[in-house]
């Protein structure tokens, strides 16, 4: 046993001081994910605030973990949530089940369902991990109006799908 042996170990410690630190300062500093990270879902809106979800359940059908529950509803002229006849009346994603695979957002025919980069999906209460429509709906941006309200961007849902963004832009310019 050499006489330097007792301090030899400190060499490793000392050496580490000059290496890059792997520890994250989470939650003080939040990590920025890759742009296509599969985080919490979001139900998007049309530019006037109407919901894009048509309640078709294709996302629920595609989900391999059976994490999604959808029930459709009937839009009426008095109470309209989405352009067209049908909207998602009840929408739930169970984050206790979701494996973040993203098959649901591929199935969505209206691009209503997308995923955000939000990854803080832990809780000590199972109940709150079942996200409902209120939790999942995209926030109202300027120019958007909370449904129910009539179609502002055209006569039929066709107008929304074909010229939606364009019409919205024009409406915004006119407002200016």
């Amino acid at each position: 046993m050499g006489f330097l042996d007792p301090v030899k170990g400190f060499g490793v410690t000392f050496g580490m001081m000059f290496k890059k630190v792997a520890t994250e300062k989470y939650p003080e500093v939040k990590k920025v994910t890759a742009p296509r990270y599969h985080g919490r879902h979001q139900l998007n809106r049309h530019p006037d605030g109407l919901e894009k979800c048509v309640g078709c359940e294709l996302c629920a059908w595609a989900c391999p973990a059976d994490a999604i529950f959808v029930e459709g509803g009937n839009n009426t002229d008095e109470e309209r949530y989405s352009p067209g006849e049908r909207y998602g009346a009840d929408y739930q994603i169970n984050y206790l089940r979701c494996i973040g695979c993203g098959l649901c957002i591929e199935a969505c025919p209206t691009r209503s369902l997308t995923m955000t980069n939000e990854y803080e999906l832990a809780n000590d209460n199972r109940q709150v991990l079942i996200f409902t429509k209120e939790d999942l709906l995209a926030p109202l941006l300027p120019g958007m109006e909370a449904p129910p309200h009539p179609m502002r961007l055209g006569e039929t849902e066709q107008d929304y799908y074909v010229n939606g963004p364009e019409l919205a832009k024009r409406a915004q310019e006119e407002a200016k």
């Binding site: 048509v54 309640g55 029930e71 459709g72 049908r86």
Partner: protein
């Protein structure tokens, strides 16, 4: 010795032909459609318009195949759903023929040109023949780039059926169903060419009791129901086979449910009973089980406050058992007509064993002693093997409907009648009051009588209408009689005489699903289970032995019928009443019934929902609706219609279980803990050879028309869609009910002075109803009212029966 060549020559039986399909030799009965022969071989040819129960139309051209006759190929592919098999035919389907395959792909491409891309929002998505066949037999890409033909999105054909014309492939299944099967052309093909579309038939009210079937057979999502619209997808539904709980036809159904809630009901295929159809009541009326007033917990009336309050099962059963034990021998049991066989059996046994009485009756409607005798002598014990059946009706040369409105009371019987009559084999006669839609649609002949005069009319048949008696004399003819007959004295006796004279068999077709079964298990004052007579010591001994009772312990005096029980309770002779699902307003005298409930010391109500009985009940015990329990209905044929539990684990208990536990509290054993146990206990009784009841012999009476001014005779029966409590919570269904009108002849209207008015006011000393009226071919001096539709609740408002005299005045005047 020569050896026979080892070749399997197909033998062609008489009336069959031999042909080749896709290189396989096959024998088929003459006249069979090619598409069906192929299907039997397991070769599925794509199709839209073809339906085995509808006449071939050849409308969609999806089923094209190559056909060769006598070695010469036909110039173009042929529609296999319209062409019948022939000897020596050589057929190539899409499986072996590129020509047929290309033709089918071409047709599919044309169909898809104008079909919208609605699948995500379409109710049919996931179970759509067009989706499936487009995947199997269509091109992967569309070459069509122009604008699709568009129509305004769904137009309501009725409050229940919505039509999306963009999705329609013009297969004409719906129009053919309406015209051929239901006979209500409420939906028709309009316009021609590219603008051809399905629409509402002109000049006809848009209502049919069978409209839901068009939704089920539409091969695309063009027809959808307002009630099921957007509720779920086929993949989140669990399908359970079931039996309809509404009428006595006993239709096979498929119940689709999701997360403990029934989403829809569909017709199941049962060729012996409902074929592939059900009526709209059976299809759409199921949400009553989720009504807000459903009784979910037992309730006991608080002695101090007089209010009903929730209680535990233990407490409620104890209170009930104590009161009923005290009233033993002085309690009556009313069971209503909607119980399963097992539940009715439990009531029957409960009355005899626990209450020691024969005062039990299932008839929550006008009834008579004569009817009781008829049921005991002629109806009990009949089975499909021994009695009249649906197929028997279809094969009958002559059918006589007496006091029976098939379309309103047993719609599937009506469909069979129409099917038989439409083929021209069966002649249908109706003894009734006016040419109702059912008479017209069964191509029937009406023999009109004043209400109450049916019995005399039956007696006079051989002299006045010899063609009817002659027709009934042909083997296989049948007489169908409905619940209304109980209101016509002498009618059952007259029919039995007619049956004897002509040889035609009689079938009793009650309106409610549980009535036939209740007869079988002895929920009647004179009958024990299996048609055994209460008055017969040998029969009693049989039952005592099977039930493990002391000899002589069964009560031996025939009990009171519903009227008797009500009367006895009203004047204090009976101290307790056990009421299972009876609406007092269905009874012949609702006022007396309410008085009986009020007077009785103790009323036990076994109910699904709060009812008029709840108000008077001392103990209310909740019971399970038919989707939440297993059981058996006996349909009018006497056919067992067994069904399992659809919604499991709701905690709701069937009547038989509740009664069993109650009986245990009263120191009696019923052995009906579960429907299976009850069925087993009933089966142990077996059949009997003890004496049967004697047939009724009641003189028929000539009905005389009222003489005094402003009076008429009331004819009345209930309509299929009305105020019935099982149809509540169904606004879309209610919208398809028939208009609530009174009917009378023009002459009567003139005599009564109502011809200038818009409404009539029909009254008795009990009350009055005011309704719009229509002219119909009623006998003079007769007015017809629906039994329980809208504001016209004949029993409740008028306290009148079929054949009672009523006052008729122009609406609004006294």
């Amino acid at each position: 010795m020569t050896v026979a060549p080892e070749k399997n020559e197909l033998v062609v039986p008489e009336g069959h032909v031999k042909l080749v399909i896709d290189g396989i030799e096959v024998v088929a009965p003459k006249g069979e459609l090619l598409i069906r022969t192929a299907e039997r071989m397991g070769i599925t040819i794509p199709r839209f318009c073809d339906h085995p129960l509808l006449d071939p139309a050849g409308a969609c051209r999806q089923c094209l195949v190559e056909v060769e006759m006598g070695g010469r190929p036909m110039p173009k592919p042929q529609a296999s759903c319209t062409i019948t098999v022939a000897d020596g035919m050589v057929v190539k389907t899409q499986v072996t023929s590129p020509v047929a395959d290309k033709a089918q792909q071409g047709v599919m491409e044309l169909l898809l040109i104008n079909h919208p891309l609605d699948c995500p929002i379409c109710d049919k998505g996931g179970e759509c023949p067009l989706q499936n066949q487009a995947l199997a037999h269509g091109r992967t890409d569309s070459r069509f780039v122009d604008r699709k033909r568009t129509f305004a999105k769904p137009i309501p054909i009725s409050t229940q059926v919505l039509l999306d014309r963009e999705r329609c492939v013009l297969c004409q299944r719906c129009t053919r169903f309406s015209a051929q099967i239901a006979g209500d052309p409420f939906i028709e093909l309009l316009e021609r060419g590219a603008q051809q579309q399905i629409g509402i038939a002109e000049e006809k009210p848009f209502q049919s009791y069978f409209s839901g079937n068009t939704i089920q057979i539409c091969p695309v999502g063009a027809l959808t129901s307002a009630a099921y619209r957007f509720r779920s997808r086929p993949f989140d539904l669990v399908s359970t086979p079931g039996v309809c709980e509404h009428c006595s036809s006993g239709c096979a159904e498929r119940t689709d449910w999701r997360r403990g809630k029934v989403m829809r009901k569909l017709a199941a295929n049962d060729p012996e009973v409902n074929e592939e159809w059900i009526c709209d009541k059976g299809r759409f009326a199921f949400r009553y089980t989720g009504a807000a007033d459903r009784v979910l917990r037992p309730m006991v009336r608080d002695k101090a406050t007089g209010e009903l309050k929730q209680a535990s099962w233990t407490e409620a059963l104890q209170v009930a058992a104590e009161a009923l034990t005290k009233a033993r021998g002085s309690a009556g049991v009313l069971t209503g007509g909607r119980l399963t066989l097992e539940d009715a059996y439990a009531y029957s046994k409960f009355a005899r064993v626990a209450l020691g009485t024969n005062d039990i009756d299932f008839r929550a409607r006008p009834h008579s002693r004569e009817e009781q005798e008829f049921l005991a002598s002629t109806v009990v014990g009949t089975t499909p093997e021994t009695g009249v059946t649906f197929t028997g009706i279809e094969a009958a040369p002559t059918v006589l409907c007496v006091a029976f409105e098939p379309e309103e009371e047993a719609p599937i019987v009506f469909l069979r009648l129409r099917k038989a009559a439409r083929k021209g084999r069966t002649k249908v006669f109706h003894i009734g009051q006016w040419t109702s839609p059912a008479v017209e649609k069964t191509f029937g002949t009406l023999l009109a009588t004043p209400p109450g005069g049916e019995a005399a009319a039956v007696d006079a048949l051989s002299s006045h209408a010899p063609d009817v008696t002659e027709g009934l004399g042909k083997p296989g003819s049948v007489i169908l009689v409905g619940e209304r007959a109980a209101q016509v004295p002498g009618l059952f006796s007259a029919l039995l005489r007619l049956s004897e004279q002509t040889g035609a068999r009689i079938a009793w077709i009650p309106r409610r699903a549980g009535e036939r079964g209740a007869v079988e298990v002895g929920a009647l004052p004179t009958l024990l289970p299996g048609g055994r007579l209460v008055a017969d010591a040998a029969a009693r001994a049989e039952v005592e032995q099977a039930w493990g009772l002391e000899p002589g312990s069964l009560p031996d005096v025939p009990g009171r019928d519903t009227n008797g029980i009500i009367e006895a309770a009203a004047n204090g002779e009976l101290r307790a009443l056990v009421v299972g699902g009876v609406d007092p307003y269905d009874l012949p005298d609702p006022q007396l019934a309410l008085k009986a409930l009020r007077t009785a010391d103790f009323v036990l109500s076994l109910e699904l929902r709060h009812s008029a009985v709840t108000e008077f009940a001392d103990v209310v015990l909740p019971i399970a609706p038919s989707v939440e329990k297993a059981g058996t209905f006996l349909n009018w044929e006497g056919r067992r219609r067994e069904f399992g539990t659809t919604l499991d684990g709701t905690g709701a208990l069937p009547d038989c279980r509740v009664l069993d536990t109650l009986a245990v509290e009263m120191d009696a054993d019923l052995f009906t803990q579960t429907p299976t146990a009850a069925a087993g206990d009933l089966a142990r009784l077996g059949t009997t050879s003890t004496a049967r009841a004697a047939a009724p012999t009641v003189e028929s009476r000539q009905q005389s028309l009222p003489q005094s001014d402003g009076q008429a005779l009331l004819a009345t029966w209930r309509q299929l869609l009305d105020n019935g409590s099982l149809q509540e919570e169904e606004p879309h269904l209610a919208g398809t009910a028939r208009r609530v009108v009174a009917r009378l002849s023009e002459h009567t209207a003139e005599v009564l002075g109502v011809d200038k008015a818009e409404t009539v006011r029909v009254s008795t000393d009990r009350g009055s109803v005011t309704v719009p009226f229509e002219y119909a071919d009623l006998p003079d001096g007769v007015v017809w009212l629906p039994g329980n539709s809208g504001d016209v609740r004949v029993r409740r408002e008028l306290g009148a029966l079929h054949g009672s005299p009523v006052n008729v005045h122009p609406g609004g005047t006294e």
